[in-house]
């Protein structure tokens, strides 16, 4: 980087739009700040004690003026709210064809796994011009996935599934930080986000050691942990068939219905009694504390892959 930096690079689909609002806010603040500064300095000089300025027509209040500035402050506030809210809501609607990457924060590193199983630590390689969604979890304390050049940030909270999505628009190497204070080496929990052309990304994936994909690892766990015994209907115990569960509505024992999203599947593994599927006995053991975050993500990835709504792998 040459010279004195004033702004971070704009390298994602969000960056330009968020910057537009940022600079609008900056212009508004500058204008209002300048107006007030000039006003106060002008009064301070003109009405300094002993000056000969005309002081006729003093007023202690001016109702129309007060109503005007109160209502215009409110209008400005509502406009800023609406503008910020509209952009914010995009965070919650990732494209359905996004590339799924698993990210786990732990003191003090970021671990990532690509759909093909390739793993990396404190570095994340992504293709440009392709939406990417990073599923986040934490193995210990709260961390926060932050890429300033992309204007995205999301906390990784223990016991919870969160995600962040973006489309990189410019190839390059950018800062990746942990933004939520996480203990001793918090500032060392940083690395690089490398955005590459799709060809370079494919070539990079090729060069990584071959390992099982999260779905394949999840499938192995599914058998090793005995899930298949009940859920595939061959054992004595009856449990719901998990094919085509993800993304579909599930009828619950309490007569409500929920969409089986990632959080639902996660919770149903960790604490099955929380939401019992209608028509089944609450007999599944809870897996909370028995499996790690990475295994849990693999297992969820496998169950999601059994559905027509699952991510294309």
């Amino acid at each position: 980087m040459t010279g004195v930096p004033f702004a971070p690079p704009e390298a994602s689909n969000f960056a330009r739009e968020i910057d537009a609002l940022f600079y609008a806010l900056l212009a508004f603040s500058f204008a209002l700040g300048l107006f007030l500064t000039v006003l106060v300095i002008r009064y301070a000089i003109k009405y300094r004690r002993g000056s000969g300025a005309n002081r006729q027509g003093k007023r202690m209040r001016n109702l129309p003026l007060e109503v005007a500035w109160t209502s215009s402050s409110l209008v400005v506030g509502i406009v800023l709210f609406g503008w910020g809210a509209e952009l914010y809501m995009q965070r919650f609607h990732p494209p359905t064809n996004a590339l799924h990457i698993l990210g786990v924060g732990k003191q003090w590193m970021w671990k990532f796994q690509h759909p093909g199983g390739q793993r990396e630590i404190d570095e994340l390689h992504v293709p440009v011009d392709e939406p990417v969604i990073v599923e986040l979890a934490s193995e210990d304390v709260i961390h926060s996935f932050f890429v300033p050049a992309f204007r995205v940030k999301q906390d990784a909270v223990p016991g919870m599934s969160t995600n962040v999505w973006f489309t990189a628009t410019k190839a390059g190497t950018y800062d990746l930080f942990c933004a939520e204070f996480c203990g001793t080496a918090h500032s060392a929990m940083a690395g690089n986000l490398v955005a590459m052309t799709p060809q370079d990304y494919a070539a990079w994936l090729e060069k990584q050691p071959t390992v099982d994909s999260p779905v394949a690892e999840g499938a192995a766990l599914y058998r090793a942990l005995g899930c298949s015994g009940c859920h595939e209907g061959r054992g004595a115990v009856r449990a719901p068939d998990l094919r085509n569960i993800f993304g579909h509505p599930v009828a619950l024992a309490n007569s409500s219905t929920t969409i089986a999203d990632t959080a639902y599947i996660r919770d149903s593994i960790l604490d099955p009694d929380k939401q019992i599927a209608a028509g089944y006995a609450p007999i599944m053991p809870a897996f909370a504390g028995l499996i790690g975050e990475s295994e849990l993500m693999d297992l969820v990835a496998y169950i999601e892959s059994l559905s027509d709504k699952g991510a294309p792998s």
Binding site: L32, N62, L74, V157, G159
Partner: protein, 536 residues
């Protein structure tokens, strides 16, 4: 000594033994006890800030270890928030002035007032003990599960101190509320009260309503840590985000505890030095209450990327813009008060003008953080650090300095030296902006807060900030010397050196132990600067 301005009947003149000071129930003496305590904490917290800025001069973490750096900024935050900012104006200037401003002989519960100081000191001993024994490294926010399951320091001891100090806040709050309701002089109706009294009243409401929630959440945290009850532990079915909700339910209103009294101070100073009634008095009074009420409804704006629901984010963003409106109104009112005035620029006025500029900057930067999508980028970066330092240090501490100089003649019976004070105010303004403005840029560039080491591209702005901190330290150290000097050598102060209108100026400087020789009767509106005053 014989020429001292302190008359034998003044509250300072009665008995100078240590025991007399430590057992006095006179609100004016208790104000001094608080003043000594919080000044010590201010310089303790300030020295931690100097260490932080020294570490950040170079990108590598080479001055102190990472663990020590984390302890240093935690001590800075804990000490500055709970042991300086929260009690600052209310417990010192508020304690001294509230009875004087409403024409009362003391607060409603003088012994409760003294007890609150002992509770404050008792609580602070816990926290100081925790610091001396090796400190804590959780940040002042004590986020779970870092603070419950992963931190090794003296977390339980430190939060015990914070909980205990909270009771002192509650005692002061109750005392102020009852005093304002019951001890106003004859004729002093609510809409004749000085804005400073309105702000103390609003602050007290927040202290009484919000502090118990802090106590509750910190006790839960301690139980989680000590007994493993799992309220915030996901492995036991707990929820780390619940901690954040409860913590900010207190800590966001606490921000208004830390700024409303400052707004009250400048609402006294500006009319006095402009010799004009406060513009839109009723609106400012009502805006004060509006800020206190809305302040309770915006805590979730600290959590836009925490994983809370998108719709919660929407509601909290909208309400955050609503709470900005009464603050904006106040800035407009202070500005218009200057119009057609007779303005002079003694130190209190310079500090008040600094407050207006810095508070406005801080408030405008809040608009960025309330904008949801922009906050996603800026939260947990130096932009937030700059924002709240503009409000709490640029705003509250500057207002505190304005008030200290303004009422110094009344409190001590001595004038402070004018020129050094004006120089200190100017140094503060320049030093403050040099310290904190670069942090806005650092935040936009993406530098996260609480970083012991950082990428080299951020260095230039960190160095400017650290240089500013040196200047700022000079600006804060100067008053310690010249105000200290003036207690013994300052010119004796007349009863009303500024020709101000408040009741506190109608009694002698310093006031007698019972405040007023004759209980005043009020028949005039506040800030009645239009009538010819017996000035100079």
């Amino acid at each position: 000594m014989t020429a001292r301005a302190i008359q034998p009947h003044s509250y300072l003149g009665e008995d100078w033994g240590i025991a007399a000071w430590l057992t006095s129930t006179d609100h004016k003496r208790i104000a001094w006890l608080y003043f000594v305590a919080i000044t010590a904490f201010f310089f303790l917290g300030g020295s931690m800030a100097v260490l932080i800025r020294a570490e950040l001069v170079t990108p590598a973490g080479d001055l102190v270890s990472d663990d020590n750096y984390n302890r240093i900024f935690t001590i800075h935050g804990v000490v500055m928030v709970w042991f300086f900012l929260i009690p600052s104006v209310p417990a010192t200037l508020g304690n001294f002035l509230l009875p004087l401003m409403i024409g009362a002989r003391d607060l409603a519960f003088p012994r409760l007032n003294l007890a609150s100081w002992y509770v404050f000191v008792g609580g602070s001993l816990f926290t100081l003990f925790a610091i001396l024994m090796g400190g804590i490294d959780t940040g002042w926010t004590f986020y779970t599960p870092l603070s419950t399951m992963f931190a090794n320091g003296w977390v339980t001891t430190a939060i015990a101190g914070v909980v205990i100090v909270g009771f002192s806040s509650i005692m002061t709050g109750i005392n102020f509320i009852v005093t304002t309701h019951t001890l106003r002089a004859k004729g002093l109706t609510w809409f004749r009260l000085p804005i400073f009294v309105w702000t103390l009243y609003a602050t007290s409401l927040i202290l009484v309503l919000a502090t118990p929630v802090l106590a509750a959440v910190l006790v839960l945290l301690a139980l989680d840590r000590v007994a493993g009850i799992g309220i915030f532990d996901p492995a036991l079915g707990g929820d780390p985000l619940l901690y954040q909700h409860l913590f900010w339910f207190y800590s966001h209103p606490a921000v208004y505890i830390m700024i409303l009294p400052g707004m009250g101070v400048v609402s006294e100073v500006i009319p006095c030095f402009a010799r004009r009634p406060l513009f839109g008095y009723t609106t400012v009074a009502l805006a004060t209450i509006a800020i206190a009420v809305f302040g309770f409804l915006v805590w979730g704006h600290h959590m836009f990327v925490s994983g809370q629901s998108a719709y919660a984010g929407l509601v909290f963003s909208l309400l955050s813009y609503c709470v900005a409106v009464p603050s904006a109104i106040k800035v407009f009112n202070w500005s218009l008060t200057l119009r057609k005035g007779e303005i002079s620029f003694e130190a209190p006025m310079l500090y008040a003008l600094c407050f207006m500029a810095l508070f406005t900057f801080g408030g405008l930067s809040g608009l960025f953080l309330a904008a949801l999508a922009v906050d996603v980028h800026l939260t947990d970066t130096y932009f937030v650090v700059a924002h709240f330092h503009y409000i709490m240090v640029g705003g509250m501490v500057t207002a505190y300095m304005a008030g200290l100089h303004f009422w110094w003649p009344k409190i001590t019976g001595r004038m402070y030296p004018e020129l050094p004070s004006q120089i200190a105010a100017s140094i503060l303004f320049v030093g403050f902006n040099l310290t904190f403005f670069p942090q806005f840029i650092l935040g936009f560039l993406g530098m996260p807060r609480r970083y012991h080491a950082y990428p080299a591209e951020f260095q230039i702005w960190n160095d400017l900030s650290s240089a500013g901190a040196l200047l700022l330290a000079v600006g804060y150290a100067m008053p310690l010397f010249y105000l200290g000097w003036s207690i013994f050598r300052g010119a004796p102060a007349p009863d009303n050196p500024w020709g101000a209108t408040g009741l506190e100026w109608q009694t002698s400087s310093p006031p007698p132990a019972g405040n007023f020789a004759q209980t005043p009767v009020v028949d005039r509106p506040p800030y009645d600067y239009e009538l010819p005053e017996g000035l100079e």
